[in-house]
Symmetry: C2
Subunit: 219 residues, 2 copies
Amino acid sequence: MREIQLQVRPGTAAFSKGQERVLKILQSARDLMISSGYHNLTLRKVAAGAGISVGNLNYYYSNKQDLLRDLLNSVIESYIEEFDKVRQDAGASPEKQFVAIIRFIIEDLGTQETTHFFPELWALSNHDSYAAERMDELYIKARAVLNDLICILNPALNEQDRQQVALFVSASMEGLTPFVGFEKPWSSQRSSISNIAASSFLHLVTTITAEDISGLAVP
Amino acid sequence: MREIQLQVRPGTAAFSKGQERVLKILQSARDLMISSGYHNLTLRKVAAGAGISVGNLNYYYSNKQDLLRDLLNSVIESYIEEFDKVRQDAGASPEKQFVAIIRFIIEDLGTQETTHFFPELWALSNHDSYAAERMDELYIKARAVLNDLICILNPALNEQDRQQVALFVSASMEGLTPFVGFEKPWSSQRSSISNIAASSFLHLVTTITAEDISGLAVP
DNA sequence: TAAAAAATAGTACAAGCGACCTATATTTTA
DNA sequence: TAAAATATAGGTCGCTTGTACTATTTTTTA
């Protein structure tokens, strides 16, 4: 279970009770976002979910935008922490590490949190520059893990090409979300799709050349 | 430029003026969805955008859900028509056709309509079963084009395996949307990414075996 | 323990929402 | 042209929203 990351707000919630409250508020907001979408996220519902009054919620977050930003921060932070953990799982060969990461990420798509939160984030980022920036940060860290492994698996690639390959691999997996995610039409075949992804991406990163990327190859 | 597809509603708008109005309403709703997201789509704004009163909008759509459904229908229909056109472009070899489709779809991600509309659709489909069904229909037709070509490019694959490969290819491209789409961080490198996708997917569909998919291969 | 700081509930409010109704204008039909 | 069908604007309703304010309770500090 992923955990909400606390982001202490300056001037408020400097004491233990307040910190717990902020945690409950963020937990409630996150649950609402996942169960009903941002479209249905209201301060009254967040307050009710946290077991406090609207007035009290207003004490911690003086406006909705502040709450949304803190929510994005905390959820995104929890994913970043997860990426770091994945990285530590450094076991056998770089090939096996690479495949393990692919499998881990696609498996994670099956959770309701990931399946529901990310499309909200993508939609939000189209109209909210703060969301866009935080999303960008998140994916930079997600790709960093892939990047390091691609560097070993295909030393001939230069930095830019490597990053483009990492982007392609990372984005491709994200794209599976609405299809193999939580209670999606293809979720029962998630592991088959995971096999396809693993073999396809492993071949891609180990064999791709600069010519392929620049378009100078056969087409 | 994609065009709004008219879906004449039974009992209303059976005459020319009404049909034009419905078109303007849908156009307005679509523009709002793309420019500000579903979160900011209100009947008053739709009416203002269509140059009519709220009362008049209510004459054509007695409630917001009806309007949303018609909007989804019309936009999705316009994409389905586009897929059919792509199919007719049947030119040279199946390899070239396949690559052409990949390139076409990724190029289309660069439009503001596609970049903004689809994340809204994905988010919506998590909490609205009607949206989920229409989205499913849309992607079934999108994959059908790929499916036919994979059938030629890799005759050894059985139906189920082929569909899973098509799903992986299609979903992977969709995943590029928040990264190489309209005014996204990597949009200037869209054609490089397109090259990676083309070479990766072409190799995948021509070489993948049932053992790769079932997971009985090396790993 | 007394004063100060923090936390909380309750209320109020203006704005915006979807939905509904009615009267009038316009267009089509016969 | 008269009648019928269609289209339109404007207003109103009850409700929800985010935000603000106030009074009270709880907790921390000195």
